[in-house]
């Protein structure tokens, strides 16, 4: 059978990919991608732990449920922000979003 460790390793790799994207990318939409990947890595961990360590209880799944719901909102608000930033700045390069700088 697949061990819990392998799930954790997959999740760690996803997290690494996400962190990489978060620290390197300049396109706001890509940054959103990276955030979603990180959230997914966390979700995977919750689901795996709840399955392996605490079978009758599904609290981990509940947290994933909340997390998915929150991710949808986050995407909606984030994209609305990106849209408005694009409208104001005609760019979604996070480096160029510095109009607030005095």
């Amino acid at each position: 059978m697949v061990s819990l460790t392998s799930y954790l390793i997959v999740s760690a790799a996803l997290l690494g990919i996400g962190i990489y994207g978060l620290s390197v990318k300049r396109n706001a939409i890509r940054i959103l991608f990276a955030v979603e990947i990180i959230v997914n890595a966390a979700n995977l961990n919750f689901a795996a732990f709840t399955r392996y360590l605490n079978p009758p209880l599904v609290s981990g799944q509940v947290i994933v449920f909340y997390s998915i719901a929150a991710a949808a909102m986050e995407a909606a608000v984030g994209l609305a922000l990106i849209l408005i930033a694009f409208r104001l700045n005609s760019s979604i390069d996070v480096r160029k979003l510095n109009k607030l700088k005095g």
Partner: protein, 170 residues
């Protein structure tokens, strides 16, 4: 003749698809392809959820992440598509690429290392028995009703916020 697929193989394939798609999502030249790869990666995660006896989460993952989040992302990409310098935009500045790579690598190695270290203490196989779908609903309603309400309020707030933000001033 029945072909028995070993679960390990499925797991490895799923992991490969998920991870490669995640990398592609960030590295694909065309943003649209990135979004599609992101969708594939999400579907891979949904596959893991099925493996983990959480079919409801898997379906939710597909419906919400792929069906809503990726659609929203695609939509936004198409709205801001005037910016054609995608590749230029995503070329990391200075040594950022290397730093990001090192940071991500170290983090992943550390977590995977701890997971492997703790490996002997962790169960190698899940306990027997299934998690019925209805248990999720029961736990949700019996133990976490207040977070559920807060979540609903949060969603409404986020919806209104997004509407206000994206509204075109006339």
């Amino acid at each position: 003749m029945q072909i028995v697929i070993p679960p390990d193989l499925v797991f490895v394939l799923l992991a490969a698809v998920t991870l490669i798609a995640a990398v592609l999502a960030l590295q694909a030249k065309e943003l649209i392809y990135g979004a599609i790869a992101l969708g594939i990666s999400f579907i891979g995660i949904a596959g893991f959820f099925v493996f983990l006896d959480a079919p409801y989460l898997a379906m939710l993952q597909i419906a919400v992440y792929v069906g809503a989040v990726v659609v929203l992302i695609l939509f936004t990409i198409m709205l801001v598509r005037r910016e054609q310098s995608d590749e230029l935009l995503d070329r990391p500045e200075g040594g950022q690429g290397a730093v990001g790579l090192w940071l991500a690598g170290l983090l992943a190695v550390a977590i995977a290392g701890v997971a492997a270290l703790a490996g002997p203490n962790l169960p190698a196989a899940p306990p027997a028995g299934n998690l019925p779908v209805s248990s999720l609903g029961l736990v949700l309603a019996a133990e976490y009703p207040i977070p559920l309400v807060i979540l609903a309020l949060l969603i409404s707030a986020a919806l209104l916020g997004a509407l206000v933000l994206a509204k075109v001033e006339k």
